[in-house]
Symmetry: C2
């Protein structure tokens, strides 16, 4: 059980240096924390992951999820994992103390989640969902809802979920039809409808389930403006602590290719008997509220992909350092010589470097996002909008780059093991199956890409985009003062220009209202933006490594710093040039071939 699945030094480097957490402690909200405490907390999270998460990574997959007549049996070890996580404060940690939290910065809490995700992504899903749904209640719900539900959720006794998707609507939330009929004046409603793909919607390790459910109040406007948010418990709690069945029936569990220990349920509300739900906040603002949780969830999904890719990287790295096979090409004829370790083959190294570049680049972007979340909470009012806009722009990228590139990264990890990687005896195949869902959860890559190009790039007259450009330029400028980093600083500048060129090429379509043309290739724009943003993160890391080394303020080994600089060089040589081809495709003269009367071509 001692195999590495995450590099804690890289976490410390990112949190301590590249995206320093210390300035947060100058704000009132986080004044009680110190860097020493950060170390203790991260150490505690890592211990928890070592003891409770990672040992069950494989067994949870093998056990899977079994559905039988409304009941769902998940792996038995999950109960302990949830309890230990709650005891460590890792479900409610970021909330206010009066709600049962510790006011933990997102940087610490989100990083702990990343450690759990790297150790056992299915298990982390259960607790992460409870965190997100409880925070939704404390953000927008009444004090009564908070008092009734949140303490049990933070204690790990009640499971939270988000119930959005419906069979006929899928990603098109404006088409949801689950209905809410007012029962009295107390904010209670009868909820009737079906929700599918509800993660953690039923299992044997929770006394109750608190479904944060989107529904339409009778007579509400059509579309997204008529959607409200409800707390719908499986069991209605009474003041004496007793629970009464609320007719939320689990009609099935979807058997999946990956995340096989993670229940994915089909829920039926109010089919034969009424199901009672409680309105959160005001009517018809449900989607806006839900987006708090959804934005957090999008970052969490991207983090999970990065965590899975991290686990896969270390599994393949270990194999490459232990497995002898073949010889250097110059030694091929020297048949008496020993076989070499496969890490000495350039092709294997290329695959390992790619994995490292994707994993740590994604980690760094995650830390950037977590820090922005904290600044939104803690910084002076006058600065908040900028932090909010930049995070808003980075969120779809943070969701998508790790999800898409993580798949390629894990696939390379599997390839390092050759035929063994395809067998159930090794973990790579599980990482490969698990990570595939990350590009689908919480809005597919296509939807994230429409969000990035169609909304975030143009929001407030392009202010979010300008903030990103300025931040990247600052890094380029700083890096240019080091001879060793100058070539890559220039290269990133050119990639940024190419990205700007694409926006200029596409904007006239947006101006003319030709939205389909404007956004037809949004996914390619996303790929380009992801590579630029991760290039920025790598330049930041290499810059910090140089500064640490030159200043003598070098808490890590030389090899650690060198590995950051070399991986940065690798990214700029092997990954960033992809933006050149993408630029060609995205700025082609003719209209994209995917619009117009081409359906008949798809035969």
């Amino acid at each position: 059980m001692s195999r590495q699945y995450i590099c804690m030094d890289t976490i410390r480097f990112l949190m301590g240096k590249v995206h320093p957490i210390a300035p947060l402690f100058t704000y009132d909200r986080y004044a009680d924390f110190s860097e020493d405490e950060v170390d203790l907390l991260l150490g505690a999270a890592k211990d928890l992951a070592d003891q409770h998460y990672f040992p069950h990574f494989k067994s949870m997959d093998e056990h899977g999820v079994v559905y039988d007549n409304g009941e769902v049996t998940t792996p038995p070890e999950l109960g302990d994992i949830i309890r230990a996580t709650a005891e460590g404060g890792w479900i409610g940690g970021t909330d206010k103390p009066e709600n049962g939290g510790m006011n933990l910065p997102e940087m610490i809490f989100g990083t702990a989640q990343l450690i759990f995700q790297a150790a056992n992504n299915s298990a982390q899903g259960y607790v992460g969902l409870t965190t997100g749904s409880a925070r939704l209640i404390t953000s927008f719900g009444s004090q009564e809802l908070i008092d009734t539900y949140v303490p049990k959720m933070y204690a790990g006794q009640w499971q939270g979920t988000m119930a959005l998707t419906e069979p006929q609507a899928g990603s098109s939330l404006s088409d949801i039809v689950t209905s809410a009929t007012p029962v009295g004046q107390d904010g209670s409603y009868h909820i009737k409808g079906q929700k599918i793909f509800i993660s953690a919607g039923q299992h044997q390790h929770s006394e109750n389930f608190v479904h944060l459910t989107l529904a339409r109040i009778d007579g509400a406007p059509a579309g997204t403006k008529g959607i409200s948010l409800f707390v719908v418990p499986k069991f209605l709690p009474s003041p004496d602590g007793s629970l009464t069945y609320n007719h939320v029936f689990c009609a099935g569990d979807y058997q999946k290719m990956g995340q096989r220990g993670y229940a994915t349920t089909h829920l039926v509300f109010g089919e034969d008997q009424p199901t009672v739900g409680f309105l959160v906040g005001e009517p018809n603002k449900g989607l806006r509220y839900m987006f708090q949780m959804m934005n957090e969830a999008r970052i969490a999904v991207g983090q999970t992909a990065a965590g899975v890719a991290s686990g896969a990287y270390y599994a393949s790295l270990q194999y490459a350092k232990e497995r002898p096979q073949g010889r250097a090409l110059e030694q091929k004829k020297n048949l008496g010589s020993e076989q070499t370790l496969i890490i000495n083959h350039p092709d294997v190294r290329r695959m390992l470097f790619t994995q490292k570049a994707v994993v740590e680049g994604s980690f760094s972007l995650a830390m950037e996002c977590l820090k922005l979340s904290d600044l939104i909470h803690a910084a002076p009012e006058s600065e908040k909008e900028d932090h909010f806009l930049l995070l808003d722009l980075l969120t779809p990228i943070m969701k998508t780059y790790p999800a898409e590139m993580g798949q390629k990264s894990v696939s390379m990890g599997l390839q390092v093991l050759g035929g063994y990687g395809f067998t159930m005896d090794f973990d790579l195949q599980q990482y490969y199956r698990d990570i595939r869902i990350m590009a689908i959860y919480e809005g597919t890559t296509g939807i994230q890409s429409l969000d990035l190009l169609g909304r975030k790039m143009t929001i407030k007259n392009g202010k979010a985009a300008q903030l990103l450009m300025a931040a990247v330029q600052r890094t380029i400028h700083e890096a240019s003062t080091y001879d060793e980093l100058k070539p890559q600083a220039q290269q990133l500048g050119k990639a940024l220009e190419r990205m700007g060129g694409v926006v200029q090429h596409l904007m006239p379509y947006a101006m003319r209202g030709e939205l389909t043309t404007f956004l037809a290739d949004a996914t390619l724009f996303m790929e380009m933006a992801g590579h630029v943003v991760i290039g920025w993160q790598w330049l930041k890391m290499a810059l910090q490594a140089k500064q640490d080394q030159l200043s003598g303020n070098d808490q890590f080994a030389d090899a650690f710093y060198e590995s950051k600089v070399q991986t940065m060089q690798f990214f700029f040589r092997y990954e960033l040039p992809k933006t050149v081809g993408l630029h060609r495709t995205l700025t082609a003269d003719s209209l994209p071939l995917t619009i117009g009367q081409v359906e008949s071509a798809l035969i």
Copy 2:
């Protein structure tokens, strides 16, 4: 069971027009065939696939393979599939009539295999291996070996395998240690050793197993020059038809992520009692012989990847044409409007077009390779070398492009289905799991890439490469005479130049014997060459479509021809530009980062 998994019109177009089979019938060897007969044979293969292969595609995965004490239980339906395939003549078809074959052209036989592969890739593996190993015996074995083994193999009663890989050697065949000790003067040997990853090495549907086994005769030279080829049956046949156990023990079956109905065994030869094997051909020439089968197997693996990607394409295409969700972006506010089919979303179309481009581009390259195989057999001696060299160059590309791009293609198919694609209720997840092994079987992508750049590009002073360049230039020249094809013809010319530029950049390292540097990024060169070669195939297809339409010799519908031209345009806009970024990476000034003292950077 009626879902489409392959487009027979595309097959007919490729075989009838793009790579016309008719000229083959002018050669003596194939003089007995006619185009009418081709239609009948392809129809028979499709019927067989419809009736026996495709109906069990999913059930074979669900059943899986069970090992118990030397015995292996594969899906029960496999027995019927093998028998029906043998009865149709689809195991021995290409062999000479005196060996039990029909002298079938590879173009027909290989295309039938492609149909089976698209319908049920695991099932086709069993029969394909018997074909390859029997042909190895008829090519290089004694008449006695042929008479004893081949008829039973072609009849589907005895299973053939290729037994190369050993635990300590993996891809490094020069390190195999299985030993062969002469027993008498009759070519029989005692074989002792272990072989792993032996596909179809044991199952309940075969009376006997004929393992084409690589081993080292006592005292043979080290390395690949000391490897001999043996027929090692599980049961020794007597003239009276009885079978005696030959102590080939199946020690296990590898449980795999995909191809779960395909047995992958661990075999032990001569552990407690002697196992007898029979030398094929001359001593120490085993690897050369085996390469006949391996080259065929490499093309077959590429074909299988293309077939799997074809099945996935039609599964996702059907879904996209039936599933309503969302609206055109211009209609988003029109909430009363019906939801549109998802095929109308540009992002979904892009994914479908990519799949079609990968699938049909790979089919066309497969047909090119099959035709070259036939010409090597049938053409006048003076022309054979050119055909051989070109096929030799294309083989690693035919293996690799469908295996690598097929993964991306199938992944896009899964993405089209969104969350449903990740569930076991749909076939996409199975295609996704199945196809992953194709980049590993019969030499990984890394090994194919070393073969392409290190051997095939330089063979006979670059003659194979010159033949390819000339063939591509011919297509460019012809296509340039059509205004509509001119832009892509020019684009392909430039991509070809870029490829030449990379070779020029790298060749000095080869000249100086710096092989590690020369070949460090061979896999990227492979990616580039694959895109150029598939671009060539698409230009060929579009050219043929134009010529058919203009000449009035248009046996297919206009929509069919238009779909070929539009998919060609798609490939050139969305796929070929990737070669621009690859060119930058491959011609960078500095040495690749994957060589030298960088192992410490991989932490």
